[in-house]
Symmetry: C2
Subunit: 230 residues, 2 copies
Amino acid sequence: MKRAVCLVSGGLDSATALACAVRDGFETYALSFDYGQRHRVELAAAERVARQMGAAAHQTIAIDLRAFGGSALTAEIAVPKGRQKEEMGEGIPVTYVPARNTVFLSIALAWAEVLEAEDLFLGVNAVDYSGYPDCRPDYIAAFERMANLATRAGVEGTSRFKIHTPLIDLTKAEIIRLGLKLGVDYGLTHSCYDPVDGLPCGACDSCQLRLAGFAGAGTKDPLRYAAGGV
Amino acid sequence: MKRAVCLVSGGLDSATALACAVRDGFETYALSFDYGQRHRVELAAAERVARQMGAAAHQTIAIDLRAFGGSALTAEIAVPKGRQKEEMGEGIPVTYVPARNTVFLSIALAWAEVLEAEDLFLGVNAVDYSGYPDCRPDYIAAFERMANLATRAGVEGTSRFKIHTPLIDLTKAEIIRLGLKLGVDYGLTHSCYDPVDGLPCGACDSCQLRLAGFAGAGTKDPLRYAAGGV
């Protein structure tokens, strides 16, 4: 059985990407990061998701991106609340974490190389929320090219790394429909950037996009939200 | 003054690359990694080197690559000793750490983005010891391309990341001559993969290449080696 390393944040998108890896016949190795994120509660969600989807292993790697700051997710910068969708699309959001996907994919590549896996799965999406530079298809292609030069496989010509981004062209509603079809339990996931008493706030960009996605998919989000959030 | 993020391992090459950044007029930000390396003593050397070269800041980021294993530097695999130079050149050495430079450069990129630095300095070398896939010029160029798509700067078109590899075409002897000219104190550096009682062993590939480099440069290595090592 071919192995795939799957980045699993605990959120809705990465849970769906993991389900796609299972659908595609891979033995999955789930990888999460404890990088100093304000919404650290997502790591427990990642563990639940990896277990539910039958991952062969799940590792959480600690790396302190707080040492650098520069994002509302890793420094004392306020997470925006109650923004309209048009505002979210304006430029690069303050919740952008510098080079985050590059750091995560690099570490995934290290694990893949040890596992002799050639496939990485990443739940990035360029449709609903394209403000993050490291979610664009051009970037993914450039990383893949680099990865194939970076590693043992690149020198020996024994394998070719492939970065799978099964959600990249889907809307949030389409992602949710796909995940439900593949058996994802979205009640196990966590999307909120700034939880209130452990519950999703319902007002940050991530909660709003999630809720709009469920509405668009014509189904109800199984999560309970903080009072007054929605 | 333009800023540059410089990867400083504590070794001879990265100390020289840091000196090149100073020579080129950059304000330097030294970055080291505590990644579970067997020769963790090099981190104290990195601190000394950064201080001697007048770095504006020095950060050591912890990231546990031992979680994956796969290298003699991060797992219980023996470090080869007393090999001839021809043997060292055979294939990829067991001291290769999967995707290490990619992981390190990615984290350097994150810090550079926060610092608004466009320049990264890396002491890789493709001449004396070219067994590592992630020390090749093609790889460096691919990383640079990826970095410019990965980041805020890539979207906004405000800057262009440049990865400087001032040592890539130099022999070890040439690197040492250059460093001495630029004021590097090699007595502060550490190269050994497998120190004996805190002293360099003199027999691993890294020690042997270092000693041959000093001999080639016609000068003496200021380090004291473990008894019987050399």
